[in-house]
Amino acid sequence: MDRDSELDFRDFVLVAYQRLTRTAYLLCGDRYEAEDLVQTALARAALAWHRLDAAPDAYVRKILVNVFRSSRSRRWRQEIPVQAVPDRGLADAASMMDDRDVLRRALAELPPRQRAAVVLRFYEDLSEQQAAAVLGCSVGTVKSLTSRGLQRLRRDLPAEKTHAQPAEVDR
């Protein structure tokens, strides 16, 4: 990377790091893992920086989601979907009251692709076409993933906390 590219990349990281880490945090649910995912994605982006166009956000976001999905495909981290968010025991009773904790747990129960679709659509505010490009699938698949993700969120979140309707995802 020449000096101009390095400065460009540094500026991009400065601007994008907080947002990318937050996206990663919603994907994986852990701060340190989120930072690890983002740093890995940015390192990969740095190697391809010289051939990226003027809007590298989409490229980096795609790498980030791929890194996240790869991390979840490893056997030792494989998630086991369950029918309902399990009880967490008395030690977490206080935090159970926290809306954010409830949402974090509900997100954690979603399979990685559904979680990614929900986060891209409702946190990153991507269109279905943009989300499809990031996930490397068709628009129809994004609709299906988002719909199923929202259905599960609605089931796992308390009734009064359920907000989005699967039928309402076409934006």
Binding site: Y17, Y25, Q39, L47, G89, Y123, L153, T162, H163
Partner: protein, 412 residues
Amino acid sequence: MTDSNELLQQRLHDLADELGPLPVPHEEIRHRTRRLRGRRRAGGLAALAAAVAVVTIGVALVARPTPMPVTAADGPFLGWPVTGNATGTSLLAEAVQVWDSTLASGPHTDIHALLVERDPVLLGPVVVLEGRDAQGEPRLAILTGTADDRDALRLRADRPAPDPVTTRVVSMVSGRLGTATGIEPLDSRPAAWLFALGAPGVTGFGYHSTAVDQELVEGGGPDLGRRLLVSLPPGATPINTTVIARHNGTVVFRGPADGGAIGDAVAVPATVLARSPDHVRIQGSPRALIAGLLVATPDGLLGRITAASGEEADVELVTAASFSIDALTDITYRPLRVAGAGGSARLDRIPADANVVATNRIVTVDPAQHSDRLGTLTVGRVGTTGHDLVPATATSDLSRVYVMVEYEAASR
């Protein structure tokens, strides 16, 4: 967009904002990029690398690396010239005033600065001073701002001045730099910080902690100068963190960090005299050998002192049948219990939803830390059955251990 979708969006943003502002780890990203580039090149260049290696070895046999310059001691003090981006500002006077007023050891004389810096990302001001205390003893002080108030300069360490001839690095690892009081709020995400200042000639640092599963900058990090300040996960402590200093690529120092901050548990060294399947007998300072205190190694928890007399004490190992301790899953902090089983250890009271699987790290709170999240000790890793524990510390060839003592007790 519907109201319900907007509400979900808002809740996702609320959850994401839990993270708060994060330091941008340019150095870590650069390191990962270099490592990744190296891996990609490795395959195609393997044959070439082998040939180059032969040539390099040949050259190395006849070429001498540039030696690190030696800085003469200044009496009992390090003779290092002051460095940093804030030399010549009022920060130095402010630091001296804080040092003089914080402890009863002041006012100080013969003061000179080794570092006067304003860190733009993590802690704000960072100052390292040497001087004599009121009794004339040479001391070294490290002062920093805090992660939550980067204008508030606090005294973090006040130690005897290090050996002025042999010292290559001054360092500190602590999780108490996040707030002015050194106590992290319960709703915060805990972290530890590693600070190091190298002697003139040090061109870069590496670091590693056994408390962290991810690979840190071991020895090949970029050369960014004599000063290192990075954040680490909260289990990092001086005994489990290794600092590596380089001079133009040559390692000139490798060792554990010097110590923690004021308020941190102090690791008092002790020597292993004898060992049996369930116990080791250690020798150390009588002030540190107190029944109930935990004993650790750089790899994690060894056991607990059960009996002490004078300079010797018995340490019950994690695997002893009568040993048990409250523990936590690492990072997620789910409570469980570790119990010895006579030559092995097992996990009890595992929460049904804890998702404990083989190789997960299990930690315990160090009572000497006065914190449930900082400086936790690794007890071991979950074994293949999901209910057995592989202890963090092996006792074979064990010669040096550390008794974890409260800061106040160690300072008396």
